[in-house]
Symmetry: C2
Subunit: 501 residues, 2 copies
Amino acid sequence: MEQKLQELKVRLAEINDLNGAIALLNWDQATYMPPGGAAARGRQMSTISKLAHTKLTDAAVGKLLDDLQAYADSLPYDSDDAGLIRVTRHDYEKATKIPPQLLADFYSHSAAAYQVWTVARPQNDFAAVRPLLEKSVDLSRQIAECFPGYEHIADPLIDFSDQGMRANTVQTLFAKLRDQLVPLAEAITAQDPIDDSCLRQHYPETPQFDFGIAAIKDYGYDFDRGRQDKTHHPFMTKFSLGDVRITTRANENNLSEALFSTLHEAGHALYEQGINMDFEGSPLAEGTSAGVHESQSRLWENMVGRSLNFWQHYYPKLQAAFPQQLATVPLTTFYKAINKVQRSLIRTDADEVTYNLHVMIRFDLELALLEGSLAVKDLPEAWHARYQSDLGMRAPNDIDGVLQDVHWYGGFVGGAFQGYTLGNIMSALFYDQAVKAHPEIPTEIAAGQFGTLHTWLRENIYRYGRKFTANELIERTTGSPLTIEPYMNYLRSKFGSIYNL
Amino acid sequence: MEQKLQELKVRLAEINDLNGAIALLNWDQATYMPPGGAAARGRQMSTISKLAHTKLTDAAVGKLLDDLQAYADSLPYDSDDAGLIRVTRHDYEKATKIPPQLLADFYSHSAAAYQVWTVARPQNDFAAVRPLLEKSVDLSRQIAECFPGYEHIADPLIDFSDQGMRANTVQTLFAKLRDQLVPLAEAITAQDPIDDSCLRQHYPETPQFDFGIAAIKDYGYDFDRGRQDKTHHPFMTKFSLGDVRITTRANENNLSEALFSTLHEAGHALYEQGINMDFEGSPLAEGTSAGVHESQSRLWENMVGRSLNFWQHYYPKLQAAFPQQLATVPLTTFYKAINKVQRSLIRTDADEVTYNLHVMIRFDLELALLEGSLAVKDLPEAWHARYQSDLGMRAPNDIDGVLQDVHWYGGFVGGAFQGYTLGNIMSALFYDQAVKAHPEIPTEIAAGQFGTLHTWLRENIYRYGRKFTANELIERTTGSPLTIEPYMNYLRSKFGSIYNL
């Protein structure tokens, strides 16, 4: 048995090495690659992705998993070997159940849909993307149907990024959240708007980056096992547990962008850097789901990085870095500016309170498309209707409506959105547990110390990688299933105080 | 036949994609990788190298080559398809004739030998590396013996990097060169030494890089298909024909380092960027040999970049970049400083005249070790004797003698050195042909224009990639075999004038 397990680990390490190389090819494409490298880069990534897929779906892997099942069953659920076999089985099933031809159709359709969207959006031309989006829905359904036994057709798609989450439970949770968020957003936006002009002065790039780097070093991001580079869109990527990188971008006319994207990506990176090093080279060596990942990026960006405690320590430093811009701006003005809530049409520009409303609209529309209860031709209007009811706004066109971002036009419908809001909900859940265990955390944050919080998160979440699912982590840390209460309490308390509700 | 050729090309493109990824993994390791990434990086490179090797040695490749041989024979020698089949056959034979176990032994021995050398060198402890070097010689012989039918046991090893070159012809050529170089070096070093203190002032890094970048842009290095980054040791690397990168390093106390390493690596890069784009993804898309590659780096570094013509145009610009350091230094002083000749013990520090003496010592000692006419135990003393006779110096120890650089301690003995001197010899040969065809080239260089030279090199050398061997390129451009005369004429004329011989 030991020998079979060893053979499995060798195969998985090889796949892991290929995935690391793909991640590097991607990172380089976004950071330093000269334009002339683009064509070959696409081929290189595709070749290595295919090799990794072939190696994962090798029948020998299935045989090894079968042979090892009795051994896995004999182990405690939380043993590393049991976890490895369980997670590999999960990946193997996912990879082998989709016929290669369907996958190939999906990839070539993705590329075509993306191309058409880039032209259609500036022309406000939903009609141009409509047949492609219909095909995307159809292909997404076909992929879901490779996993029979689902409760809702979106379940297999959701399971790709948020293993164990189901459409119906998420939808119920989201409905409750919306019922409380819509009135909160209405109450806030009925107040006088916050003046955030202090953020919109000229801020040179270099001290912006320097400040962000100093802050995430304090968070515990380890620059010996990572680095930060500039890209058009910020992201976190990992080549191994010893090399977890983040990227950022600066807007010299808006202080928020680089700062909070750095804190956000650092949150993702702290998670990956905190995984048990013994998992290196195996599928356990990754964050367990999109939702849990987002819970960490949002926790470090928002619950910590936009808190008054945090800025009690860091605002004098920020003022020292930008004396001309901030010397006469009081802390409370700055704090309110970085927490300004406003209705908007674009998801990616949204604040902490309204962001989830955008996400939940997308999630519900996705489910309706997949169910067939909404036709693609009716999508633009369904979009406008939901924005009207949830956010009290209607986009003047589809450019800022259903065409606003690349999601859906990358070929896949379903499973991409729930993680954002699940992450927000979980961020409060985990933070509350950490503070319950260590009530000194808020005071430490106000002193620029994050060790207690970081350690709690590492011990209770990070180190497990994929050994436990999101639901298992929540159950283990809170003793109960996922609930929105801590998150709503957090929002009500924070924004109630900011907006004097 | 078309279908088999297509199948071969698809297989080769896959191998090429893997090799591109390996090159990127290497580049990143040398440029941006944080220290924590090192362990996994080694595994990633090893995994992908093994995959590339497995794919090249696949029996299906041999079968395709057999099936395509009659087709190849029916084509003109210089057709692209014939070249592709010929070069692939060559690579396939090289890769399949060495038993996998021997290769594995060689790799694990390499790593061990390198480790021991890093400790032994600072301690001047040749005895510590001796048994490992004996094993290196033995393994190198075993690898050579996988290619029976050689004239000299070093031939198969030389053929790895300089296809078609043979130990005996190279040795004869080198003997002639030494006979002329030793007296030239003696005559030069009998003169008063050149004062090169103008180079050894403080030169800030940024304007050094800016100057080098401007110069290689003028050379024709295409930054849309490449870039320059900083590394500990400068190198050129290629991920595809559209992405050919170079690296450099700056020494703020010596102007020569960054400048000439940039010109040198740009020469390598011009070669790779100049290859016929139709060869992309195939084994033809590479410089044809170590020697021809070095001929281009040395041509652009030395024959162009250290010429008086070049500096007639660029020296005023350099003075403008460093007015404090150079405003009062006349062009002739600067020109002599960058061309200073002096005896030295360390190959990598050597000037244009003495460099080849170092290389030829190493080459001859390698042959003797492989032949068995020199025992490893006698190597340190043989080294000292040759340095005494060729360079008139004797190292005070082995640190600056036989232990001076990593070559030989990387596990391989034979085939690594001839390319440096072959390259120098060829650089003059090719440059002469270009000037014969376009006598305006020197005048253009004096005006900072390199288009005619670059175009001639691209048309006659670069674009062919590996379609022709070094000997074939020489024969095609000069109509005769390799000869040292143009190179000796170049050295005699240039250094005769600098040193008033």
